[in-house]
């Protein structure tokens, strides 16, 4: 049985934050979950996907976060405890549904798990999603540790049912991707069958209904603020004239710093774990007892703004520090040493910082950026497009996925990128105002997520652009989750439909559609040339399994290749234009690392001397 489904309350397991979240939800009797994969939240859903096969849990990978929220909203309004999982930028997509769902509310608990990514380890921005709580009027819970996130999940479902509103559980990468001992709790058996009671005057948001619902939402917010003040997740410890208000992972850095600096007797800490609505009255009382306050929060001054306003309301005049040039930044992640240093500076405490090593004599170390895998078909497609457009002025908008990594030289496959699906929409815009040929790249999963509306736009407005759909039959970047184009029987799964990208694109009315196998370089270049020469919208679908997934599914990949030193003329086209990471230099000659090479044979087709041959080739 899946380790998170075992009925072993009281035991302690080492769990990844994302596993602890999944376990906490299961303990709460979760019956229905949906997501679109996004790091740092991906492992939550990966666990649900596996668990769904062994339990009554319903789980789906939806086409995007808005759809995921819509399906869970329906389930929760039928009385089934539900959960919707996304990364921070996913909430932008879900926001349209979320804003009005806040008016409608829920019947059974609905938790929206949102994973923020300060420092952008794997994201295009570091937006602070606590403002979504303010914007929508939904409560936010923010745990500080892996163990606490397990605990907070059942509380979140109960809170959701008390308020009859979805509850946002906001984590950051350092919770999702930390591991620690987690004490397991009892599992409540899930209630999987729902019952929908028709009530159009509360559930159909025409203006006359919504006017009443907005009034109700504000009442619930008042109720939520009372609960926030009472919540055990908004706690105070220590006493003394110095106050620190802190949320999330920073709480750990503050707790360690206060101990390290020996100021436990002077300091009181307010840990905010229920952060929307902020616990106003409780904070005012806290501020009354402080001479000086420091707010420690990654991201935006969300708590700081509230605390300043509360101090004003309470008529308190005291120094409140937070974001400032000499204090905390709105940029990036915090770390223990930095938090300790800022606390020492603000409260004027002596600090003995660790003496950093003098590293001035360390030579420059070559960078090791992430790279498309050896044998990745995206590299072959990018190469083929580069060949097909030699000497042509082009603009190449790219999108979100492994293939984004192709933006670096020598492939240089990517000139513009803002969000999921943006390559198609921005491609339309570029093609309208530029003379350059526009070639947009998008992955298969991303195409389903939000590429389709852009393509419809391109067809309707007859933009002159080529869209290359990089179809590797999976969502590779986040860990190989399925999407509507995947043949689920390949993954040993039954009961799924399948949407053909080719039929879909034709159905939209794209006038020029071709399918290529990127490992066949010559044919691919020819098909691309034709598509690019076409005036109007053309779509090229490049189909080839993700090699990493093919390997893990034990599908046959090719025999490795080697460079025949007799034939190699050392002009290095392979390394300079294709740049497969299986290449390396030895004595100034190109070689192939047979343990990395997947035998895709693309380099062999690129080499004009036919010097790249399969290993153990018969003489």
């Amino acid at each position: 049985m899946h380790k998170l489904l075992q009925d072993n309350a009281g035991e302690t397991l080492m769990l990844l934050g994302n596993e602890a979240i999944a376990r906490g939800a299961v303990e709460a009797g979760l019956a229905f979950a949906a997501t679109y994969p996004g790091t740092p939240s991906s492992e939550i859903s990966a666990n649900f996907f596996q668990m769904a096969k062994q339990s009554d849990l319903y789980f789906e990978y939806s086409t995007n976060e808005k759809v995921a929220l819509e399906v869970t909203a329906a389930a929760a309004n039928s009385g089934v405890r539900s959960m919707c999982i996304m990364k921070h930028v996913g909430m932008n997509v879900a926001a349209d549904a979320m804003m009005t769902l806040a008016y409608v509310g829920v019947k059974a608990g609905l938790v929206i798990l949102c994973a923020d990514d300060p420092y952008m380890f794997s994201s295009q921005n570091e937006q602070d999603n606590r403002y979504y709580g303010k914007l929508s009027g939904l409560p936010i819970l923010e745990p500080s540790s892996v163990d606490e996130v397990r605990q907070i999940m059942p509380y979140a479902f109960e809170l959701s049912e008390t308020l009859q509103e979805p509850v946002i559980v906001r984590t950051t990468t350092r919770i999702n991707h930390s591991t620690g001992p987690v004490l397991l709790g009892e599992i409540i058996p899930p209630k999987t069958k729902g019952n929908f009671v028709k009530d159009p005057f509360h559930l159909v948001t025409v203006p006359a209904v919504s006017r009443n619902l907005h009034v109700r939402l504000l009442k619930r917010l008042d109720q939520a603020e009372v609960l926030s003040c009472e919540s055990k997740y908004n706690f105070i410890h220590g006493k003394g004239p110095w106050g620190i208000v802190v949320n999330g992972v920073s709480y750990n850095y503050v707790a360690d710093a206060v101990r390290d600096l020996g100021i436990e007797d002077q300091t009181r800490i307010f840990r905010v774990g229920f952060s929307h609505p902020m616990p106003g009255e409780k904070l005012k009382a806290f501020l009354q007892g402080c001479e000086k306050v420091l707010v420690v929060e990654e991201g935006e001054p969300y708590m700081e703004e509230t605390i300043r306003a509360l101090a004003q309301e309470a008529g308190l005049i005291l120094p409140i520090g937070g974001k400032a040039p000499q204090l905390f930044s709105r940029l990036f992640e915090y770390d223990p040493a930095m938090v300790r240093e800022k606390i020492a500076a603000w409260f004027d405490v002596a600090l003995e910082p660790a003496v950093p090593l003098d590293l001035s004599d360390v030579p420059e170390i070559p960078q090791r950026p992430p790279n498309l895998c050896a044998g990745c078909s995206h590299r072959a497609t990018f190469y083929a497009v580069n060949k097909a457009t030699e000497g042509m002025a082009t603009v190449k908008p790219n999108d979100i996925g492994c293939y984004t990594l192709g933006f670096m030289p020598p492939l240089s496959a990517g000139d513009f990128l803002i969000c999921m699906g943006s390559s198609v929409g921005t491609g339309c815009g570029f093609s309208q105002v530029l003379d350059d040929k526009v070639i947009s790249y998008i992955g298969d999963s991303t195409f389903f997520h939000s590429g389709i509306p852009g393509l419809i736009n391109a067809v309707f407005n007859n933009h002159d652009m080529t869209l290359v759909i990089l179809d590797n039959h999976t969502t590779a970047m986040t860990g190989h989750q399925p999407h509507p184009g995947v043949d689920m029987s390949n993954l040993g799964q039954e009961g799924y439909g399948r949407v053909s990208i080719e039929s879909l694109v034709k159905g939209i009315g794209v006038p020029h559609v071709s399918v290529i196998r990127p490992y066949n370089v010559k044919k691919s270049v020819a098909a691309l040339k034709e598509a690019i020469a076409f005036e109007g919208v053309s779509v090229v679908i490049a189909q080839q399994d993700c090699v990493l997934q093919a390997r893990s599914l034990k599908k046959e990949t090719g025999r490795p290749f080697r460079v025949d030193p007799q034939k190699c003329a050392n002009h290095r086209n392979c390394i300079n234009d294709l740049a497969c990471p299986a290449f390396y230099m030895e004595n100034d000659r190109v070689c192939i690392d047979a343990s990395i090479c997947t035998g895709c044979s693309v380099c062999a087709q690129v080499c004009p001397e036919n010097a790249i041959v399969p290993v153990k080739e018969k003489k």
């Binding site: 540790s145 660790a354 090791r368």
Partner: protein
């Protein structure tokens, strides 16, 4: 309980996360408080994977620059790059088997000389233990056991609050059964190499 901070750096695919899991499991079994965090994300595709393990009475799961007590580097140049996490009291264990980054292959940067790497680390930190973990893994019967060799070396330093037996038990519990024997052999070889 005193706090011990351990950083592990490796290249994606070298088994760093599995090594961390073994340490975490051993800590759980020994009731040693532990917090761990990892950085991967986009770096999975051949980039650097770093994990931090904090043993003892601290709450932070990450380690600031200059604050690691031990650095275990699965790759020499990456160990050098991670040196900013260390201080003059840090013990460093490195695998001397180099993995050239692709940038070096295409002429963007030069891979530093192996002797220089060792000399630099030894001159700045309290102690350097270097071993060819790849060769020892091969000797144990599985090239992929580099991580277990390095765990063995780490165990031999007695710097982490986990005894040899608890680590062996954790290897048995966490790694795949089919490899248990070679993994334990690799662990032994690493231990011996570090004590020699």
């Amino acid at each position: 309980m005193d706090v011990t901070r351990l950083i592990i750096v490796a290249v994606g695919g070298q088994g760093n996360l599995l090594a961390s899991r073994v340490l975490g499991e051993a800590a759980r079994r020994s009731q040693v408080p532990v917090r761990m965090s990892e950085i991967h994300g986009m770096a999975q595709r051949g980039g650097v994977v770093e994990s931090a393990l904090v043993f003892g009475d601290a709450q932070s799961p990450i380690i600031s620059d200059g604050e690691a007590d031990i650095l275990v580097g699965f790759e020499p140049a990456e160990s050098l790059r991670a040196l900013k996490k260390c201080n003059a009291d840090t013990t460093v264990i490195i695998n001397t088997a180099a993995l050239q980054p692709f940038t070096a292959a295409i002429g963007k940067g030069v891979y530093p000389d192996l002797d220089d790497i060792q000399r630099l680390i030894a001159s700045k930190c309290a102690r350097l233990i270097s071993l060819d973990a790849a060769a020892l893994a091969r000797k144990a019967g599985n090239v992929l056991s580099v991580n277990m060799v390095l765990l063995g070396a780490l165990s031999a330093t007695n710097l982490i609050p986990l005894n040899e037996q608890s680590l062996k038990d954790a290897i048995g519990a966490v790694t795949r059964q089919a490899f248990a024997e070679t993994n334990l052999k690799a662990f032994e070889l690493g231990r011996k190499a570090a004590t020699a």
